[in-house]
């Protein structure tokens, strides 16, 4: 065990898997950096430094800088995966999926099914998501619901450094295409993380708190906010169960249904826009399966149905906050809370 940042946790997972299996390669824009330039080698290690140090260790044959051509290199990673490599491709910001989505959802995701089970596509796409960086409408979106919608893709949202290492390792070892969502505002968050390699199985939720009154299901960075809200609510005698599903596809419906049955109340926290997101998905699941166990209507805390605004004054209103989560919890508990 040692203290590692969310950034270091991803880096270590990739490094250990590259050491273990030489078919694992990494590619992306400025993933090492300084390509063809007169200055320092490995100048960037990705825009936020996640892959720094991989190129010096593994060489340019396995750590490939790319031109700004997402259709080409994400598609290339899919093709390489289907033919024997295990690429970890970085789509810098998930917003850029617009440039290359065909290669992801029509190609990589569907190979196995369309080809009658003959293809194996161990592709990992790493991508940054989320608001809070004052990065405006085209660099702040969540978009994981769009990927979750596509059969054939697996989608993971690590909520801290421990999760980051385990889910990243699992993704690289998984034989299906996996998209890993890294929240850009979390890279410097630190915690104790094991030094040896470990995977966290997909589709197994993590229950971070157990309580009697309300179940909070939260995704990615929102898990931290849900935990904070739960801590603060406990001061007024309200106890919450907090569920981090870890992956939106596959989704651990069992744990969600079980914990909601126990408390009878559900607040879902999702940083994505409110329509057709994870919150609506979980709400539908719960109302379909365990409607009679509910003591109150389900409440969703999401960002609003508008693009991510630039101005800090607006962005702060846009992102779900612990205050909004606490208010939602009090609301589902009804009068007196």
């Amino acid at each position: 065990m040692s203290v590692k940042s969310y950034r270091q946790a991803f880096n270590e997972a990739i490094r250990q898997e590259m050491e273990r299996d030489e078919r694992v390669i990494v590619m992306g824009e400025d993933i090492s950096g300084g390509m063809g330039a007169p200055g320092e080698d490995d100048a960037w290690g990705g825009v936020l430094g996640v892959t720094k140090g991989l190129m010096p260790q593994f060489g340019r044959e396995r750590v490939l800088d790319t031109p700004i051509s997402e259709s080409a290199f994400i598609g290339c990673a899919a093709g390489a995966a289907a033919t024997g490599l295990r690429p970890v491709a970085e789509l810098m910001f998930v917003d850029f999926m617009g440039v290359c989505f065909d290669q992801i959802f029509n190609q990589a995701a569907k190979f196995r099914y369309m080809f009658g089970g003959k293809a194996v596509t161990p592709l990992v796409i790493r991508t940054m998501y989320g608001a809070g960086f004052r990065a405006a409408s085209q660099h702040s979106q969540c978009l994981y619901p769009l990927f979750t919608h596509i059969p054939g893709l697996k989608v993971a949202l690590p909520s801290n450094a421990y999760e980051a290492k385990g889910l990243m390792t699992q993704a690289i070892r998984d034989d299906d295409p996996v998209v890993i969502f890294e929240h850009k505002a979390m890279y410097d968050e630190e915690m104790e993380v094991p030094d040896e390699a470990y995977g966290i199985p997909f589709g197994e939720a993590n229950v971070t708190r157990e309580g009697d009154d309300v179940t909070l299901v939260a995704f990615g960075r929102m898990v931290n906010l849900a935990n904070e809200a739960a801590d603060s609510l406990s001061a007024s005698g309200i106890t919450c169960t907090v569920v981090d599903p870890r992956t939106t596809s596959p989704l651990d419906t069992e744990t969600i249904l079980e914990t909601v049955s126990e408390t009878g109340r559900l607040v879902v926290i999702d940083e994505a826009h409110p329509r057709c997101n994870m919150a609506t998905d979980i709400s539908a699941l719960v109302s379909q399966e365990i409607f009679s166990d509910l003591k109150a209507p389900v409440k969703m805390v999401t960002s609003p149905h508008c693009p991510v605004p630039f101005s800090p004054a607006l962005e702060d209103l846009y992102i779900p906050s612990t205050a909004k989560i606490e208010a939602a919890v009090r609301e589902v508990l009804g009068k007196g809370h």
């Binding site: 824009e29 400025d30 950096g33 300084g34 390509m35 063809g36 330039a37 007169p38 200055g39 320092e40 100048a43 960037w44 825009v47 800088d65 031109p67 700004i68 051509s69 997402e70 259709s71 080409a72 917003d95 850029f96 617009g98 440039v99 960086f133 004052r134 990065a135 405006a136 409408s137 085209q138 660099h139 609003p304 149905h305 508008c306 693009p307 605004p309 630039f310 101005s311 800090p312 004054a313 607006l314 209103l317 846009y318």
Partner: protein, 321 residues
């Protein structure tokens, strides 16, 4: 067409305005007064101004993440731009867009762009509008060397050619896309690529305002005459990092200082107009002084401006919903 004294003063004013604007944003960002990401255009002024001096409001341009220079060159209000970059309500986009999304459609400025390669297809659209509605307008995509490798860019070249659109692609090659050298990332050459699509392509020294102005004149004239698209490969340098905060470790020792000392576009312009007696040095210093105080005023307005409020969050998503 020739540049008269007033044109030259206007060109110098716009280039100075961009330089001062960017230097101010650099300082203000370093002081922690500006949120988010900013990508500065300092060093590249002769390209935006050399091209946009030929344009009117009916002509459209699309810009990039490094968009402040294009906005100013195309006539966007610098005070509104500064307020936008500060996230203020009086900003050109109400504080909703920020540095990477400054736009003013009334000036034919279709927006800075956070998506590399996002602009060229839009410019095909603006050119199609000009052609269909016979406005006489042209449409110009400014794009970087990095953006020249996007499928959207290459598809746009083809579309512009097969539809014979009044479109011009200005590839601003500052040698780098983030930390990656264009010498490595661009296969072939920009002008050969143009040739491959059957359109005229010219390479020009982007530190030389007059050279840019001249090749832009030819390309724009062709487009206005219905003779289709062109490409201009502008070779230049950026003075600051890819974004503010970039340590620029990938560049060579003294690389930027050398360019500043020998090829600064403002200095070259100055030398040229004074040597040839087109303008007096008093004309130039007058412009410099007034631009400086105007930019100070822009920053003061932006600093003191009010921030948007909750009532603004959900407006402008649709016209009607």
């Amino acid at each position: 067409m020739q540049l008269n004294r007033d044109d030259l003063k206007e060109a110098y004013r716009r280039m100075c305005l961009i330089r001062e604007f960017e230097d101010k944003v650099h300082d203000e960002f370093a002081a922690g007064n500006i949120p988010g990401f900013v990508h500065l255009y300092a060093g590249e002024e002769a390209s935006a101004v050399g091209v946009c001096m030929h344009l009117e409001d009916r002509d459209a341009i699309a810009s990039t993440h490094r968009g402040h220079g294009h906005c100013i060159a195309k006539g966007c209000d610098a005070e509104g731009m500064m307020s936008e970059i500060y996230g203020k309500k009086d900003g050109l986009c109400g504080g909703k867009g920020g540095s990477m999304h400054i736009a003013d459609l009334s000036k034919g400025m279709l927006g800075a762009n956070g998506i590399v390669g996002g602009g060229s297809p839009l410019i095909c659209g603006a050119a199609l509008t000009a052609k269909t509605l016979k406005t006489g307008g042209v449409a110009i995509a400014f794009l970087g060397d990095g953006a020249s490798n996007q499928g959207t860019t290459l598809e746009s070249y083809n579309l512009a050619k097969v539809w014979n659109l009044p479109a011009i692609f200005v590839v601003e090659d500052n040698g780098y896309a983030e930390s990656t050298a264009s010498a490595w990332s661009v296969a072939g050459t920009q002008t050969k690529r143009a040739e491959g699509f059957g359109m005229p392509g010219a390479e020009v020294d982007g530190h030389d305002f007059f050279a840019v102005w001249e090749v832009a004149r030819e390309a724009i004239e062709r487009a206005r005459n219905g003779e289709g698209p062109s490409l201009i490969h502008v070779k230049l340098n950026r003075y600051y990092g890819h974004f503010e905060g970039d340590a620029i470790t990938y560049k060579g020792e003294g690389e930027i200082d050398k360019i500043k000392a020998t090829k600064d576009c403002l200095n070259l312009f100055k030398q040229r107009v004074i040597e040839t007696s087109l303008l007096e040095s008093d004309d130039l210093s007058e412009i410099e002084t007034s631009v400086k105080s105007y930019i100070d005023q822009c920053a003061a307005t932006a600093t003191n401006g009010s921030t948007p409020t909750e009532a603004d969050l959900m407006t402008d998503v649709y016209l009607k919903y």
